[in-house]
């Protein structure tokens, strides 16, 4: 068995030195290396277990001592510890004792205060997004401004605000928006939102109001937007109302219009904070 193990080690070394990495992206080498290591370790395992089994069985038995000390020993030790407090004079000198406790109590404060600069004050930056009136909607795939003719009925695309297109940066990360072209007559705008859609195109925040995942799955037939993280389902024609799942609020809508060259622009900023909730959200 130990010889098998040694053979495994040799296999590992051979695979490391002589197998080309480019072979199927290194996966083949990975299998050979792993097999070598597995055999090397497995040989040791089987060998040692057999060795232990073949040894003369020794029946072991031990007495247990009590888990606690004898009372006399306990008394002695407690006495010693308590006398120490007396010797230091801490019992009668109350002011000294209290100032000591107060000072020790204050000691952690500098270290806790030092954590203050871990991050900025949340107020003001919470759920800031990059959408401002007149900004172009930049298609995330092409990097070009979205044109009113770019989307067929039932299709969906993700757009970023002009000037903040890198979704891996803060603020921009919050600003991803989906644009969907509904079939004519399907959209039922909420009161006060009659002019938020443009030519059957509607734009909603892509950040789920539940836990902040991007709401990416659009079902053409049912007009449902589904969050793949926790299955919150939003019904697009009704202002992205929640029809299933843990999300508690509809997706916020971005008012858009078509400019005179046919490009889509934001009509206004969002009327509410985007994404999941937090204590300060009114």
């Amino acid at each position: 068995m130990f010889l098998v193990s040694a053979a495994g080690t040799v296999l590992f070394i051979a695979a490391y030195l002589f197998v080309g990495r480019q072979a199927q992206l290194g996966l083949t080498q990975n299998e050979l290396l792993g097999t070598g290591l597995g055999v090397a370790m497995g040989g040791m395992c089987v060998g040692l277990v057999l060795l232990a089994k073949s040894a003369v069985a020794t029946h072991g038995e031990e007495e247990r001592e009590s888990h606690s000390s004898p009372p006399s020993e306990q008394r002695q030790t407690v006495g010693l510890l308590s006398r120490g407090i007396d010797q230091l004079g801490l019992r009668e000198r109350t002011f000294l004792r209290r100032s000591l406790i107060a000072a020790v109590g204050l000691l952690p404060l500098p270290f806790i205060l030092g954590l203050r600069d871990l991050g900025p004050r949340p107020r003001g930056i919470l759920r800031a997004d990059a959408w401002r009136p007149e900004l172009l909607l930049i298609d995330q795939t092409s990097g070009q401004p979205l044109h009113v003719g770019d989307l067929d009925i039932g299709s969906i695309t993700t757009v970023m605000p002009e000037g903040s297109t890198d979704a891996t940066r803060p603020v921009a990360a919050e600003s991803a928006v989906v644009v969907i072209r509904l079939p004519p007559g399907v959209n039922r705008p909420l009161p006060g939102r009659e002019d938020w859609a443009a030519d059957d195109l509607v734009a909603y925040s892509k950040i789920c109001t539940h836990a902040g995942c991007p709401v990416g799955l659009y079902e053409q037939q049912t007009h449902n937007l589904l969050c793949p993280c926790h299955q919150s389902t939003f019904f697009v024609p009704d202002g992205c109302a929640v029809i299933f799942g843990p999300a508690a609020r509809p997706l916020p809508q971005l008012p858009i219009y078509v400019d005179d060259r046919g490009y889509l622009r934001a009509r206004a900023s969002f009327d509410q904070p985007l994404g999941p909730s937090y204590w300060e959200r009114s």
Binding site: N30, T35, L37, V49, E62, R169, Y278, W279, E280
Partner: protein
Amino acid sequence: MRRARWRRAFDTVDARLHIAGPVHKQAKKVFPDHWSFMLGELALYNFLILVVTGTYLAFFFHASDTPVAYKGSYLPLRNVRVSEAYSSVLHISFDVRGGLLIRQIHHWAALLFVGAILVHACRVFFTGAFRRPRDINWVVGLAMLMLSIAEGFAGYSLPDDLLSGTGLRIAYSILESIPIVGSYVAVFFFGGQFPGDGEIFTRLFIIHVFLLPLMLLGLIGAHLLIVWRQKHTQFAGKEKTEQNVVGSHLYPGYAVKSLGLFFGVFSLLSFLASYAQINPIWLYGPYDPSTVSAGSQPDWYMLWLEGSLRLMPPLSSRFAGHTIDWNVFFPAVIVPLLLFGSMLVYPFLERWITRDRAQHNLLDRPRDHPVRTAFGVATLVYYAVLSIAGANDLIPLTFGLDMMAFTRALQVAVIALPILSFVITHRWCLRLQLNEVADRVMFAATSGVTVTHDGYVVPRG
């Protein structure tokens, strides 16, 4: 002659440390032979392998979100703009010989590590090994279970791939959902509004490779010292009493066997890492907060939390200019606190209710403590339903069920099944006890001997 050489070698050490006595005593230390006592060791060996493989990975990993154009040998991502963290993990996977193997061993070991701890905790719970004086080690062990889950999540988040980034996004939202302090906690931890300016990787890295492993190491040390000092528990049986420990001596039998287990774990992990692909981040792609793929699932030990989030009805309350999203705060903060909290207080609660303040060294059989066993089973069933709910998209997809109906059924099951399993387990335990008594009476009547509670056969009279 050989013995003389041994003595010279030993004397070199002993002349400095005076250890002949302690070594003699500890080498004869007795370990019970029952297989279930290996579970804790299994976790320990996974931890050792995690430390070794993790150190190796840290030689190559860059904890940075600085954008770079990927230049390595994985062609589909050539020249794609990715973070330095993601790029370095691709480098480990494709351009460091054996790097992929070590990465996959590390990931598999992490999954096995948490699993071994959980099964070990079940063994301790169902056999009553947590009772006085070992309640202290139950608390230490529980702390390690929680730390190991956090450690696993931190490591899983480091490669900055699409799947782990999504996990971090959810973690941010969970922190943010805490009333009053939530936004401070989230913004301070990430160093700004999500995803921050890259501080999160610096922080997760030091937490993953230093802070949590150090805490785990300290607690493992304490856990082992306490086991060593209190000696192992054992099942009742022939010549096994409250006053002794029966089994194998540490040296040579037990040590060799245990070493064999270590190599066995390492071997298993090596084979898994070669043939069972895990976390192929090059297929997930780099993280982008505006993108997610369908069927996103965390590692198994986070599934229950994910399921808890998925089952929660959409509750949210607004008052006096504030919002509390119960649909995040309750399933992701309150439920874990309740779950771990009940595990933490259980030994003390049981002692208080049963007024059993005695020291115990013999283990219980689960059937002899129906309420405890039923409570444990109900908790496990609750945990299992939540974990299944963590895949409430994939399971209906695989079996052609309706996702919404499946989810609603799980919402009922998460309340009903634990109660039902409590009742069934409780009755089952009592029935097993009854059957035993019946067997004993039958056996005694026909054979003229009595089988005692512990399984001894003694002549009647």
